[in-house]
Symmetry: C2
Subunit: 161 residues, 2 copies
């Protein structure tokens, strides 16, 4: 698959990912390592909490979203490197058995003034469950390299220097 | 340890966490599961990238920050539940051997108008490495329950209804 450079991106473009089912075992394993709270660890304990049942940690949803993106259509030259996020929301929890996918819409494309070899791309990635309900909205600023200029033939290059 | 309610929180308060060392094995295991890009997977391959060496996925840093917080001083009644993030930045990469800790500063405390039993707290959590350099800045809006009112004696309660 071709990698995308700054010149390939324009506002309004949408890039999609494949799909991935999240299991209860994955939810509780992630939680045990990184977010050991009752509503992420145990279905019984989760029942009487705000979530009303086992729910994935938001950071698990974010990590799964990253995996979907790395393997999806939005493959940037130089990799997916976030310079910072403007927004990160979890409008509803991810439940055991949910099947996730992502859509990434390009919002802005700006060449860098200080670093001519790259630019900054603002993109909104929405993660959906199998009912097409958004479970995460992320607005990220990504570092994207410009397409390398064609190398001049070595003879010409020597004349120019 | 006492759990914190909305009434216990005020702007300017700072809550701290313990410390945790991040190993190269953890960095590459997280990356293999959630962010399989060369600069997170392999020290050799990472050398010629923007990172100049193996670096933890930003989502790994975020997940480790959550773990430090769940086990730190900032223990909210009802748990640490993010309604949404206003900002998430990774000013510098986390490297193998880095020792992380967090500081959470309360920025705003607002009772909810629609749900009198809870409020919204805006807090900035900065994750530092062992050189006291920030590796992550997160501004989160958290759902925090109000302290439950004292139950009136059952006789009085019956009179009022």
């Amino acid at each position: 698959m071709e990698r995308l450079y700054l010149e390939d991106l324009a506002p309004g473009q949408v890039y999609r990912s494949g799909r991935r089912v999240v299991t209860a075992a994955e939810i509780t394993a992630f939680a045990a390592a990184y977010d050991p709270q009752p509503f992420h660890l145990d279905a019984e304990a989760a029942r009487d909490t705000l979530f009303g049942g086992l729910a994935a940690s938001g950071w698990h949803t974010a990590a799964l979203t990253m995996r979907l993106q790395v393997e999806g259509e939005f493959r940037l030259a130089g990799g997916l490197i976030g310079a910072g996020m403007d927004e990160l929301r979890w409008p509803r929890p991810v439940r055991p058995g949910d099947e996730l996918r992502t859509e990434t819409e390009i919002l802005e494309v700006r060449p860098s003034r200080s670093r001519p070899e790259q630019g900054l791309v603002k993109a909104r990635t929405t993660t959906f469950n199998q009912k097409n309900e958004p479970v995460q909205v992320l607005v990220a600023n990504l570092l994207v390299p410009r397409h390398p200029a064609e190398e001049p033939p070595s003879g010409l290059s020597a004349c120019r220097s």
